[in-house]
Amino acid sequence: MSHQNKRYQVNLFRPKTGHMRDEVLIIFAILFGWAICTFGFQIVLAVSRGTGAGDLLTRLTFFNLPLHFWFTAQFLPLWFIVLCVVFNVYIDRITQYHSRRRDRSYE
């Protein structure tokens, strides 16, 4: 009877404790890094246009490219790869940790 009354719940913002909680934490961390560098940088670029800081962004060069162009065209794809690597390493680790805790072999 008690089984039937149990309410199953899955919610990104209210994860269960254990593996899912650790997973959701890293998901939010990665999404934060993803959003800040992609959209945050463009907003900074647009807002600072015409001011000293904005001029600095477009006039400084790196690999002969203006800094903002280098950041978007070359650094961001690299940054996405880094984010994915970090995510995978972390997930590998927590999967291993929680599998051991439950005394199960890892995949």
Partner: protein
């Protein structure tokens, strides 16, 4: 032989070699590896993801738009790489644990409704068709460029060539060797670029990073500022396009199904990283073509009107190679890479679309007692009908290659992405919510052509290529609201989500 017949020759050689290698691999595999095919490891899986992804949009359309719009078009580069972060982080492992890999399958199972499944199938087919129109435009432009014929005849010849290639490899039963495809695509894109950089006198070993000098020359000698941010659009436009392509990537039908072919979740996750790296190699190179194209044009003193520039933007990669005086066979290599990418993308999409017609619409809904062979017939006829439809649409293409592709991404991002996201991460999402969400998503995607005449504001918020920045959150809100006022989904599905999809280690 003159230059252009050399290029045709190289293109033919490459396309035939795919069939030959595929057949040899097939005879070897059935003896050595059995019928399951072989597992190629994480790097091989990454190459397969990348080759599945590369299309005429990546190899021709991307450089064309950067050539036209400079910094503004980098939204395409970022959108088409950053989407993989979303896909990996939010959906990959969970969908794999859920065990359904096509959008109609997932929707039908998760939301337990054949109506929702039908809508999802129609949306998937529409995405495939729109995506294919862009590929056909690319194929048509390459054909008309190589043979010196007009675009209409180029598309027709190209369409016939694709369909015959598809039928031929289908009859021979050629398996797709995706690692080889990636190798061909990347080499044929990067080697001509190195040649180009060397010829123009820039750092050629890594032309991806050597084109900075060319940008500097462009602004010093010809005072063309290629990199000025938001010169050709707005911050909103940039972010909306970028976000749309990102959520579209995470919702695109033929991308998700890649997770099915890798034996375990851990390798599936790592092969995404390799796939992203292989994709980035191409995307780091595309701006270089655009910059060199501009530079050559300026050096040769050509001045094009915006309309003329737009009409040739999609072929700028080949045009640049020719006007820099690259040898004919090398132009052929370049064309062969783009053509094989477009051919295999079309083949994959038409077959998925036809399978969807046959299984999700014909078998599941129209005629549940259909035999295996009847379903096969429907699938074959479906492929031809879809190809004819695509050809018809491609005769009068509505935009540039990358722009047409972006509409497919917007549709995926507005409909399939929210459905997967909420389906995986919120157990309360139900059938009514899913149907309402998909219908809202369709309206959002086509809001600009449909509604902007009546409500001009709508066109500003939901631009046709980038409707998902406002669309996807709106669809998510609609799904949540409708789900909350209607009864929750069945107990069994919620248990499955909590215990299997999210509780596999509890």
């Amino acid at each position: 032989m003159n230059d252009s017949s050399w290029s045709v020759f190289v293109v033919l050689c490459v396309l035939v070699s795919f069939i030959v290698v595929g057949l040899r691999q097939k005879s070897r595999e059935s003896t050595e590896y059995g019928f399951g095919g072989r597992y190629t490891g994480r790097i091989g899986g990454g190459a397969a993801i990348a080759s599945n992804w590369m299309s005429a949009a990546s190899l021709m359309g991307l450089a064309g738009l950067i050539y036209l719009q400079g910094y503004q078009a980098l939204a395409y580069v970022i959108g088409w790489t950053g989407g993989y972060v979303l896909l990996l982080v939010l959906l990959a492992s969970q969908i794999r644990r859920f065990g359904k890999f096509t959008a109609p399958d997932f929707v039908g199972e998760r939301y337990g409704s054949s109506a929702a499944r039908l809508i999802a199938a129609v949306i998937s087919i529409a995405i495939s068709v729109i995506y294919c129109v862009a590929q056909f435009k690319g194929i048509g432009m390459i054909f008309s460029f190589m043979f010196g014929i007009d675009y209409t005849r180029g598309v027709m010849f190209g369409g016939v060539a694709v369909v015959s290639y598809l039928v031929l490899s289908g009859m021979l039963g050629v398996p797709r060797n995706q690692q080889m495809l990636y190798f061909v695509i990347s080499v044929s894109f990067i080697v001509p670029l190195m040649w180009l950089a060397r010829k123009l006198g820039y750092f050629w070993l890594l032309p991806q990073f050597g084109y900075g000098e060319a940008i500097a020359d462009l602004s010093r000698q010809f005072s063309i500022d290629f990199t000025l941010p938001f010169a050709q659009g707005s911050l909103f436009g940039w972010c909306a396009l970028c976000f749309t392509l990102m959520v579209g990537t995470a919702g695109l039908p033929h991308v998700l199904s890649r997770f099915y072919t890798v034996p375990n979740i851990r390798d599936a996750r790592w092969s995404v990283v390799w796939g992203l790296f292989f994709i980035a190699l191409i995307y780091w190179s595309a701006p270089a073509y655009a910059v060199f194209g501009r530079l050559l044009e300026a050096q040769q003193g050509h001045q094009f009107s915006p309309a003329a520039a737009r009409s040739m933007a999609d072929i700028i990669v080949l045009k640049t190679a020719v006007s820099a005086g690259l040898p004919g066979w090398l132009v052929g290599v370049l064309a062969a890479g783009a053509l094989s990418a477009a051919f295999f993308t079309v083949a994959g999409l038409l077959m998925t679309g036809a399978a969807s017609i046959s299984y999700d619409i014909y078998y599941s809904i129209l005629n549940p007692r259909a035999s295996e062979s009847a379903r096969m017939q429907v699938a074959k006829a479906g492929t031809l009908v879809l190809a004819a439809l695509v050809l018809l649409l491609a005769l009068n293409p509505p935009g540039l290659i990358a722009e047409i592709t972006a509409v497919a991404f917007a549709l995926a991002g507005n409909t399939i992405f929210p459905l997967f996201l909420l389906g995986i991460w919120w157990e309360r999402a139900n059938r009514e919510g899913a149907i309402a969400g998909m219908l809202t998503g369709i309206v959002c995607t086509f809001a600009e052509p449909l509604l902007s005449g009546v409500l001009p504001q709508v066109g500003a918020w939901f631009p046709i290529t980038s409707s998902a920045l406002c669309g996807a959150p709106l669809v998510i809100c609609v799904m949540i609201a409708v789900s909350l006022v209607t009864p929750p989904p069945p107990e069994e599905m919620r248990r499955f989500l909590e215990q299997e999809v999210h509780g596999h280690l509890d």
